[in-house]
């Protein structure tokens, strides 16, 4: 037990050396780190938002709306197709996840079948002999719709945040319908929150001038129209709402670029269409000169200018009641694209940089004081064997730091607390071993036999104790969130490394000491 093969010694020393190399960059300032040649490893532990300051936002997507929207589109398609083919129907609508319609004449089912099939692609379509039609998405399809919408949302959120120039944001999908956004260094996330709170669905549509405003207020609207309010307070003589056609002339998806500029000293947003959008816009405006079209953003009319000429240049301008900031934000949103689902913020945690710095300082003080007290106590209680344990304790901290860096784990404030607790717990291994050696010595065993028995008998106890702690930390890691995860990680790493430092390393140190000094009796 107290003999170490040469390769084992080499391995022990190699692990300690590597650990030290990986841990050292964390102690140096960033300026010195930048000077380290890049071929040398210098990963550092990334600090959690609670230590470096920043904002943590948890967004929830309203996924029901995605499916609902798809169903609404299907209803519109069925209505258009059946009307075009002059097939009578009643009771067209959505019930749960199913689109239902009843054909007036069951004889028309065969004529309607191909039309319904094309309108309900990807859905399970059932046409009864009596003309009752039901179409619904399978669970798998709903899943893939939601999946697609979430992936797109993450992408759009990333683009929007990147456009604001935030450094190193983290954007992750979490669970079925959540997106986690971490913004280091951002203390007041108001602007980001505002940007993420908008769906930014932009459409260009015609205003239905044939409908009188009174019809809109009484609700006597054709099903192809809707009433939309004006985004900003109406200016002199303007109506506060418009009757707008549901049919979309060109949508925001066909925009390739948008920038905030000035026209007549007023902030405006200029945009460019892609080729499809340009052509559609050109065709639509050519045949409708003199009419009004509405620029609609998230269900509100930004402006409704008159078409003076065919617009075929593939670009245009939106003038509304913009400030410089709101024009810039709109341009940003248009560039980044629309969110397929509305997002809402369900959790926010922001920490100022000062508090973070204070926490780091407190953490370092606490670690230093804690280490000093534990180390002193160990020497007082176990003499030379206490010093061995202290060296092991130091390497335990170093190796934990190194592993945190290597795994690019995040160090949080609870993580620092975990580090301190590890100090107490890993020293427990040496306490157990030393007490055991003491007992065995008292029984009159030779130094080698006492050491041997001490390590062997203490091992199973240490192992059981550590496994129980690891089980708990695993549970905490899986079920905990954010900074609490950091606590579980540091404790787990600390315990794993302590198995090496407190047992293997200390045994090797003692074996070296034994060979050099050859003590006749142990004084633990």
């Amino acid at each position: 037990m107290m003999y170490f093969a040469r390769w084992k010694v080499t391995l022990i020393l190699a692990i300690l050396a590597l650990g030290t190399i990986f841990a050292i960059p964390n102690l140096l300032s960033s300026r010195i780190n930048a000077a380290i040649p890049s071929w040398l490893p210098h990963p550092t532990v990334s600090l959690g938002l609670d230590l470096q300051g920043g904002s943590y936002l948890l967004l929830a997507a309203d996924i029901d709306t995605v499916v609902r929207e798809r169903l609404t589109n299907v209803v519109d398609d069925i209505r258009t197709e059946l009307r075009k083919a002059n097939i009578g129907y009643t009771d067209l609508g959505i019930e749960g996840n199913t689109v239902k319609v009843k054909l007036r004449d069951s004889a028309s089912t065969e004529a309607a079948r191909p039309l319904l099939q094309s309108a309900t692609q990807g859905m399970d379509l059932k046409i009864g002999a009596d003309g009752a039609v039901a179409a619904s998405f399978s669970d798998a399809t709903v899943q893939s719709i939601v999946q697609g919408a979430m992936e797109k949302s993450v992408e759009i959120v990333r683009r929007r945040i990147d456009e604001t120039g935030t450094r190193e944001p983290t954007i992750q999908r979490q669970g079925a319908d959540r997106i986690l956004v971490q913004l280091p260094g951002i203390q007041d996330p108001e602007r980001v929150k505002e940007l993420l709170g908008k769906t930014a669905k932009m459409t260009f549509r015609f205003v239905d001038e044939s409908v009188l405003p009174e019809a809109a207020t009484t609700g006597a609207l054709p099903p192809t129209d809707e009433v939309l309010p004006l985004a900003s307070a109406p200016r002199g003589g303007e109506a506060s709402f418009y009757v707008v056609m549901k049919r979309v002339m060109v949508s925001g998806e066909n925009l390739t670029d948008a920038q905030a500029t000035y026209q007549d000293a007023q902030p405006v947003v200029s945009f460019k269409f892609d080729s499809i959008g340009g052509k559609r816009f050109c065709d639509a405006t050519k045949t409708n000169v003199g009419k009004l079209f509405a620029i609609v953003l998230d269900g509100k009319v930004i402006s409704a200018p008159v078409i003076r000429d065919a617009i075929c240049g593939g670009s245009g301008q939106i003038s509304g009641n913009f400030t410089i900031q709101s024009a810039q934000d709109l341009a940003l949103l248009l560039r980044a694209g629309a969110l397929p689902v509305p997002l809402k913020i369900i959790e926010e945690r922001s920490v100022g940089p000062d508090l973070g710095a204070d926490s780091i300082r407190a953490g370092i003080y606490a670690c230093a004081i804690g280490f000093a007290m534990v180390a002193t106590y160990m020497v007082l209680a176990y003499g030379l064997f206490g010093i061995f344990a202290d060296i092991a304790l130091m390497f335990n901290l170093i190796l934990t730091m190194a592993l945190l860096s290597l795994l690019s784990a995040t160090l949080t404030l609870p993580g620092i607390a975990g580090m301190l607790l590890t100090l107490g717990m890993s020293v427990d291994a040496n306490v157990l071993i030393n007490e055991r050696i003491r007992e065995e010595t008292k029984l009159g065993r030779s130094p080698i036999a006492a050491l041997d028995a001490g390590f062997r008998r203490a091992f199973s106890t240490i192992f059981d104790a550590n496994v129980t702690t690891l089980i708990k930390m695993a549970i905490l890691y899986v079920l905990g969130s954010g900074s609490v995860k950091g606590f579980a990680v540091t404790i787990s790493l600390g315990i794993c490394t302590s198995m090496f430092t407190a047992i293997v390393f200390v045994r090797w140190v003692i074996s070296v000491w034994l060979r050099r000094r050859r003590p006749a009796a142990l004084r633990v």
């Binding site: 929830a60 007041d188 108001e190 709170g197 809402k344 913020i345 369900i346 959790e347 926010e348 945690r349 922001s350 920490v351 100022g352 000062d354 508090l355 204070d358 926490s359 407190a362 003080y365 606490a366 004081i369 804690g370 280490f371 007290m373 534990v374 106590y377 007082l380 176990y382 003499g383 404030l413 609870p414 620092i416 607390a417 301190l420 607790l421 100090l423 107490g424 717990m425 020293v427 427990d428 306490v431 157990l432 007490e435 007992e439 106890t461 104790a465 496994v467 129980t468 702690t469 089980i471 708990k472 930390m473 549970i475 905490l476 079920l479 905990g480 969130s481 900074s483 609490v484 606590f487």
Partner: protein, 314 residues
């Protein structure tokens, strides 16, 4: 050579004499804690209750009256103000807003504006807003974590020892956890996610301690085949007494600076851990061991007929 020892070696304290008192005191404390849990109840923090919590540092000593008037004028419900740390530091807590997550976000924005505009130079050191969905989920997963941890411990100890050990350890853990909950109620410390981490840590620490004592009991069961269980448990506790005290003491020393230097949630965390160390250590001796004695009296020890072997080691 000098050695610092809290108890001398080879103590022969008859701990099992106090087994009834130990269990009764523990049961009374735990029952009281459970009553306290229902009335007045835990001071749930925003993680589990939802709401808004803002840590602000004003440019001068905080004017609590003015802060209170301004914040209560927002129509967001009664704002709770609390000084902590220096007189400049104020902790502002608002109840969860009715009207869902949007209302919550609007409220945060309002408070932010009032603080920055009416009290120039104010620094918002920490802003937290948790909605109803999230707080509900956190609470459920937190309770799940506690339950799972208990079951996992029972299974592991059962697997490594005998079932009597597993039951003894888990019953003791439940008693430890209830007392810790009582501690939360009495001190009024906020019960948050970190508190849950603290409870799990205490459970980990406490079970460590039980494992050490139980491990020695198991070893002695093999070694002294004829010794009555009561005497054997006493012997095992005495043999591990120095280790128990030394480990508790070092862990205590390691955690104490955190309780003194840190602020806010981490300080509360450290305070709870310190309490847990005391509870976990004493429960190994006064609760886990007596339970083992009661459960194992006729099972772990099959009467005095067994052959007397004093020491089976070479």
């Amino acid at each position: 050579m000098f050695r610092l020892r809290f108890v001398r070696d080879n103590t022969k304290i008859e701990f099992m004499r106090g087994r009834i008192i130990g269990l009764v005191v523990s049961a009374v404390l735990s029952t009281a804690s459970i009553i306290l849990f229902f009335y007045p109840g835990l001071n749930y923090g925003i993680d589990f209750r939802g709401g808004i919590s803002i840590e602000a540092r004003t440019s001068g000593p905080a004017d609590f009256a003015a802060l209170r008037t301004q914040l209560n004028g927002l129509g967001l419900g009664e704002a709770q103000l609390q000084q902590f740390g220096s007189p400049q530091d104020v902790l502002i807590r608002l109840e969860r807003q009715a009207g869902g997550d949007e209302a919550q976000q609007k409220a945060v924005e309002k408070v932010r504006q009032v603080l920055l505009q009416k009290f120039p130079g104010t620094e918002l050191r920490q802003v937290e807003a948790v909605g109803a969905t999230v707080s509900g989920e956190l609470f459920r997963s937190g309770m799940l974590a506690l339950g799972l941890a208990l079951v996992a411990m029972l299974i592991y100890i059962w697997f490594r020892f005998e079932w009597q050990f597993g039951v003894g350890a888990v019953v003791t853990l439940i008693l430890d956890v209830t007392k810790t909950v009582g501690f939360f109620v009495i001190t009024g410390l906020q019960f948050n996610l970190t508190s849950l981490a603290a409870i799990l840590t205490i459970m980990g620490y406490s079970i460590n301690d039980k494992v050490v004592v139980y491990d020695r009991v198991r070893e002695n069961l093999r070694k002294y085949k004829a010794m009555p269980l009561r005497q054997l448990i006493d012997l095992s506790i005495n043999e591990t007494l120095n280790r128990t005290i030394n480990t508790s003491f070092t862990t205590f020393l390691a955690t104490m600076p955190l309780a003194l230097v840190a602020t806010g949630a981490v300080q509360e965390f450290a305070i709870v851990i310190l309490f847990g160390i005391v509870i976990g250590t004493s429960s190994s001796i006064f609760i886990a061991a007596p339970i083992l004695l009661f459960l194992g009296k006729n099972r772990l020890r099959r009467g005095p007929k067994a052959r007397a072997v004093v020491d089976d080691r070479p």
